[in-house]
């Protein structure tokens, strides 16, 4: 993508995420009122809307735009989501500073974002947090490009499918981090709001990528691009 297209893609992505968060505000708040402090929908809607406004019409390079999105989220999103979403975006924006947005730098961005979330929040897979959606998504994205050599948009579609499974995984497990952990066993049976909003963000990134790049997007995260050896096949000829 040209510099101009990259800028257009990033601005479209933040607009789409902001609109989605407004649309999902009460849904996320309902999820958060079951196991948290009922502010996730309002916080993210306010933050992403402010971020979209802050960069509207920007002529900056994409790393500067992404950094500004992070900084705006930090100042506009309350609670732990400010540092976790905004701080991680701000920090990961450095991966785009030299070459802009490419398949390689998008992997680096995703990995840097995940690493910052893990460092800052101290959660791991199975803590019933955004990490449960983010980790399989980032791993699937990287593997799909680097090993399977799929186009980035196809890799992103697989990552979204992986994140969907991660969100479902948060339902039957007990919370170990954040407000939900105070509920102990009562947190079981509820879907994590942070994992859910992470999936929504990724779905909007995919919808944006589909407009700018080409590739199959009707894919399953669990389907290998080159099928593994059939475990029932004993390798014999008969």
């Amino acid at each position: 993508m040209s510099d101009e297209e990259q800028r257009e893609a990033v601005l479209m992505a933040i607009d789409r995420v902001a609109t989605r968060m407004q649309d999902e505000k009460s849904h996320l708040t309902d999820l958060d009122s079951a196991i948290g402090d009922a502010d996730h929908g309002a916080n993210l809607a306010r933050g992403f809307t402010a971020a979209a406004e802050a960069v509207e019409g920007s002529e900056d390079d994409v790393d500067e735009i992404v950094k500004k999105i992070g900084v705006t989220l930090i100042s506009k999103v309350g609670g732990a989501s400010g540092p976790l979403y905004g701080g991680s975006i701000m920090s990961a924006s450095q991966t785009l500073s030299e070459e802009g947005l490419t398949a390689e730098t998008s992997i680096a961005f995703a990995e840097a974002y995940l690493e910052k979330v893990l460092d800052r929040g101290g959660a791991r897979v199975g803590s019933k947090t955004m990490v449960d959606a983010l980790t399989p998504a980032v791993h699937t994205y990287k593997k799909s490009i680097e090993v399977d050599e799929l186009p980035p948009v196809t890799a992103l579609a697989k990552a979204v499918a992986a994140a969907e499974r991660g969100v479902a995984f948060t339902v039957p497990i007990r919370a170990e981090k954040g407000r939900a952990s105070f509920l102990g066993w009562r947190s079981v049976g509820h879907q994590d709001p942070g994992a859910t909003s992470t999936l929504f963000i990724m779905q909007e990134l995919l919808a944006t990528a589909e407009k700018f790049t080409e590739g199959e997007t009707d894919v399953d995260a669990l389907a290998p691009s080159e099928p593994d050896v059939d475990p029932d096949d004993d390798g014999g000829d008969e």
């Binding site: 930090i74 100042s75 309350g78 609670g79 732990a80 400010g82 540092p83 701080g87 800052r120 929040g121």
Partner: protein, 129 residues
């Protein structure tokens, strides 16, 4: 002089803790950074960053925090703050730690390490028996 910043989800709590600590430790530089910055309950990295820059005179800053996101926002504020000084979060109860830390900080020989150590001594306090 070592500066202190008190971070709480409530701006009133942060201000109150600073009042109690300042009464015990005349001359200590202590700044509240409570609330989400928009009048609500929460913590705000830019607000904590401002407080760090306010109390920092080059000798270092120690931050006391209450719960959860206070720690994350304090860490982020340290990364964002424009300072060359050491800025450290004490792993201590916010009120007792602030009080102990302020008493130590009012000593002209205090260092970031000594203020953190005194603040963290408060982890061992028992209030009954």
């Amino acid at each position: 002089m070592i500066g202190l910043v008190v971070v709480s989800h409530s701006s009133k709590a942060a201000e109150g803790i600073c009042e109690i600590a300042a009464q015990m430790a005349g001359g200590a530089t202590i700044e509240p950074a409570g609330g989400d910055g928009e009048g609500g309950i929460g913590t705000s990295a830019p607000r904590i960053q401002d407080a760090i820059e306010t109390v920092d005179d080059g000798d270092g800053v120690v931050i006391l925090v209450d719960l959860g996101s206070a720690v994350m926002n304090a860490e982020l504020a340290i990364e964002m703050a424009e300072t060359e000084s050491d800025v450290v979060i004490a792993d201590a109860p916010v009120l007792e730690g602030a009080l102990n830390g302020a008493v130590e900080a009012s000593n002209t020989k205090a260092t970031v390490e000594s203020v953190v150590e005194k603040a963290e001594d408060a982890r061992e306090y028992h209030k009954v028996n």
